[in-house]
Amino acid sequence: MAFMKMAAAALVPVLCTLAFHFAEKKTPFQKLSDKKKQLVIGISFAALAILATQFGIPVNGAVMNVRNAAPLTAGLVFGWPAGILSGLIGGIERWFSPSGDYTRLACSISTIISGFLGAAVRRFMMDNKKVSWFYGLVVGVTSEVLHMLMVIFTNAADMQRAFHVVQSIAIPMIAANGLSVMLSMLVTSRSESSGAGQTKKAENISQTFQRWLLACVLLAFVATSIFIHGFQTRLSAQAADIELETNITDVKNDIHDASERLLLDITRQIKRELPTEVTQADVCRLAEKFAAAEISVVGPNGKVSSSSDPSLLGFDVASNERRAEFLLLLNDEQELVQEYSGGLEEPSAERKYAGIALSSGFLLVGHDLSYVRMQVDAQIKYMARNRHIGQNGSIIICDQDGAVVSGRADHAEEYIPIFDSAKSLGVQEGASFSAEIYGEESYVMYTKTEGYYIIGVLPKKEAHFARDASVYMQAFMEVLVFAVMFAFIFVLVNKLVVENVRRVNASLAQINSGNLDIKVEVRGSEEFASLSDDINATVSTLKHYITEAAARIDKELEFAKRIQHSALPSVFPPYPNRKEFSIYASMDTAAEVGGDFYDFYLLGEDKLAFLVADVSGNGVPAAMFMMRAKTLIKSFAESGMDIGEVFVQTNKNLCEGNDAGMFVTAWMGILDLNTGIVSYANAGHNPPAICRSGGEYEYLKTKANFVLAGMNGIQYRKNELQLRPGDAIFLYTDGVTEAQDPGKHFFGTARLLESLNVARGKAAEDICGNVLADVSAFAGESDQFDDITVLSVKFNGKAQPSTLRLVPDMNAIGQTADFLERELQALDAPVKVSRKMKIALDEIYSNIVKYSGADRVEIQCGAENGVLMLRFRDNGIPYDPLEAEMPDISLPVQERDVGGVGIFMVRRMMDGMEYMYKDGCNILTLTLSLQEEA
């Protein structure tokens, strides 16, 4: 019943812990501030402590309870303030509680200490974290051991009682409190770890250390306890032996003395009544009167002169060894009592003799044992009555049959059954043995005298008190000492090893994350200093190699970058003679080599292909893939395919052997320089911005097709748009729109449009420059994440040749020459080219004036594709100068004529000469490359 109550009491703090643990997680309680939580928990657990006091189980004047578990649990599980608070309240309440006066001080103090202990363990040993069940058990046990010691020390005046109290309550209270705290730890850690896949963490050093230390200490603890127990048992048994022996010897002497005194008394009376002249009749009469077995008078010569036993008359005393002792009475000795011995005539009869010296000779009186006993019994009946051995031990005097003659007043037994067993066990007189006497296991020793058995009894409980006390005290002290030792080892290991290892690890973590400049500086002990030095040396060697390798890679990447960039057209303006368009592009790689690229080239004389593309990823693989894509696109474009087909074929080729799974987004357009029509295709690329008819830039939103190299068999749509002179297209990669400022904001498409519109109408180079400057200003200090590539094309339209119309007349020749001069200057034509053109003009115009009969002529001059063009249109008679007869240029000077030489010269000097007759007009077109011949 007491056990059940104890168990129930121990479970209450566990349930309360579980309740608060749950409340902290799932109920509005969790919203309280920390201070309030601690207050509520502290008061609740104080209430538990008070309840434990009130419902304690009285044992031997003390109260058995589970009070200390509450403040301990509060401190260990919920926090040090709750622990201290509940400990203080519980302890103070205990002081004023009416129950268990005997342990009032001890309980009160130990409850307060429990609160502080739980708080201290959590705060200083566990880093303010909840402790494991193992520590819970240890702390619970330690606190209760402290409690027990307090009980003993506060009642030091009566050690024995204090010890008895402790002995009866110690084990259940230590067990209940320890288990209660342990269970509280266990239920909270269980409910925490359930559900989430619990990974078994490796033990830390101090835990391992403690575990092994605990094993060793436990072993030592058990061994010393066994040793001390055995040693103390021997000691107390020996002490008991001595005590028993002393006591029974005393009693034996007392009995001996009593019987001696009795015999002497009788003998003295006989002597008084003995007449001077002793006769046989006197002796017999006296023997009868005093119930003596024998009365003999021995003469000075040592011979029996008269005796109640006539056969002894004349017996020489000296002839009997025992009787010879009495011869001393002939000398100085006055009285002598002899031990029992057989009578002379009846050797088997136990007889006791006393002798008194007479004026001459001596008187010898012998009594039978039975008589003596009868007389002595009355005397020793009370002898053992008030005797004690130790506190509770006793003396029992029995006769030869085991009947009690004298025993303790409080025990009325008349027969001691062990007596038989002791006899049958063959226990020697004077040797101690164990037996149950008066219902108590005791040490027993006996001795025999005068026909009595004197039995000494010492209860083992009493004999062993010192032993038990010392074993308990030792156990308590060891628990305390080891608890303190554990705490110290924990702190020491933490300070000397764990803390240093943590610092080394912290440094290593930084090194791992790439900071090779970190130095490990843990110099708390020689070992750690040496470890730090080794790590530092390793890191610095590593750093050296990395730096070297990085430098080598940098160099190679720099080469790769140069190769990559040199694959892109990078001379601007690329076509100085082409006035129909202007183009500018730029690529700025984030990595040493990037995945972006741009490209443009003329397809024939009147088509401009231009594109911007972005290969997934960057670095060397992307750059290699980019080179492949660029080459494929160019070769397909130059083969004359339409733009859709170029992408289809490129995609097909890139898909082959694309194990790395790379892909390319691309936007490519082909501008017809004559018509301004752009045919384009988009493979998953950002929409370009387009500026039309002097308006603002806007995005060209057409549905994109899938990326290149993403999947085989994709069809790419060919789209068209019409550009007017002055219109412009701007292509870019996502490195522009996704450039980030230090606040991680994107540059974005809106900002790009703004930036484009600021530079609207300017040259292609200025437009690109403005966008790049804006992106750079936006990004500020932040790193460039992606390649930034831009391309701008401006369509100027086909240059319309200038025209001069006039009536053919020789006088207007200067007018035509001026016209040509103006045009040539505008076209910045080289001198030699100009001269040739001027000659041609002179020849053809003068021909028309002289021979055509035309009344209208139109002269056009212009340049396209780097070719100077001069066209004549007249309404004269049809004349094809290409069919004119060649002059003979080998005649001697006198036969020479210059007729026909003019046309001939023109034909020889011009690169091209075309004639047609159309709508009643001769149309002659001369062309000459603007490039000066080498």
Binding site: M810, I813, G814, A817, K832, R835, K836, K838, I839, D842, E843, Y845, S846, P887, I889, S890, P892, V893, Q894, R896, D897, V898, V901, G902, F904, M905, R908, M909
Partner: protein, 98 residues
């Protein structure tokens, strides 16, 4: 075109500048027809002359024909374009060019 004449006895040196085409050839022709008679030597300095068209060639050819009969004629400081014209037309064969 400007024509600078420099007569030194029977030697006439004419310096031409500008261009010699159908517009200017008659001017040179007029100058020559006045001065060629009785000349032993004619030097045409073409340093400042840009180009020559077939009209100019005709004047030069006529001058050459006339001078061949009574003395000699030479052209100096001929530029590339004019030289090319002379080349094309085979005039290099009949002219003395220094």
């Amino acid at each position: 075109m400007t024509i600078e004449k420099n007569l030194n006895g029977k030697t006439l040196e004419i310096k031409l500048s500008g261009y010699l085409d159908s517009g200017t050839a008659p001017d040179l022709e007029a100058v020559l027809s006045e001065t060629l008679a009785g000349l032993q030597s004619l030097v045409l300095d073409l340093e400042e002359l840009e180009y020559v068209s077939s009209a100019g060639l005709r004047v030069i050819l006529n001058a050459q024909k006339e001078m061949s009969a009574q003395g000699q004629m030479k052209l100096i400081h001929v530029n590339e374009t004019i030289m090319e014209v002379f080349d094309i037309t085979g005039f290099v064969d009949i002219l003395t060019i220094e």
